[in-house]
Symmetry: C2
Subunit: 193 residues, 2 copies
Amino acid sequence: MTTTGDTRARILTAATELFRRQGYAATGMKQIVATAEAPYGSAYHFFPGGKAQLGEEVVRTSGAAYLALIGELFGEDAGTDPVEATREAFLGAAATLESLDFADPCPIATVALEVASTHEGLRRATAEVFASWIDALAGSYASRGIGSARATATSVIALLEGAFMLGRANRSPEPVLTAASAAAAIVAGALRN
Amino acid sequence: MTTTGDTRARILTAATELFRRQGYAATGMKQIVATAEAPYGSAYHFFPGGKAQLGEEVVRTSGAAYLALIGELFGEDAGTDPVEATREAFLGAAATLESLDFADPCPIATVALEVASTHEGLRRATAEVFASWIDALAGSYASRGIGSARATATSVIALLEGAFMLGRANRSPEPVLTAASAAAAIVAGALRN
């Protein structure tokens, strides 16, 4: 049924947006269904495991969406210069940060820090999503002649996440713009080695 | 009075530890005073502004402690090679991450992401602390011949924060160890320019 699918999708979208703006712990099921304009019972109908199940699905769904984005930005059609592709990705991310009014462009970062020591299932979901991004980026780097591709990809993803943190705290895209040059330098250094 | 000072300090310490392990939103005043082994009323006696006041004080107090640590690691007595000092700082941070059983070595990171879009006073406190760290590191870099010292310091702090995020999600020091080389490369690149 279209309506059923719509309600479920609206709940997922609302939860994703609330988590990236205010985190996991501060977000209750009530606010999620209200934001989704869904009946209260529908959240537990679609997600009988409650907020933990919804949280894990948000992490995996938005993780997959970002994996696709990495494919677009760093895939075979994305030109062959990994240094410039990396710089462009950061410049785009800075614009996204601003367009989101400094909600987190990364849909799993806040949740990842909140749950790392407290919710084992959610922690694993965030770890698997981060690993999928690093694998995809490392694959692209390796195919473009970067030797230590996985280490390079790990550092580039870490730098982006940290730059989002500083940018959000400052309500400014500047840390992400600054990090664009550093990310390009990391990749350029790995290309020479 | 010694006891009064002790109770206040114990509450601050307990809040700092809980925030770095489970974040701001998930931590209630009840858990803080229980962890501090303090009477419940004492939290509001010492922090009449409640959790928001306590949160801001945690951010500023632990921010100042980390500023002192940056002074130790990158001050005039810390040798003159900024590349090696940076690498050593990351290697030490990786060990700290593990020794904390993957609670956040950064005492303000989780809070910073949680409050950036929702608690203006706390957001400002985190922004000021990040700026104080970047200023201190940039000062050290500048005195050692790095031209774009502030941009370099911003990227190094961002990389460390993001590496903590990946390390916590993975329950592994490996992302921070990996980032040590990337951080050294960023600083070495800035030294050449």
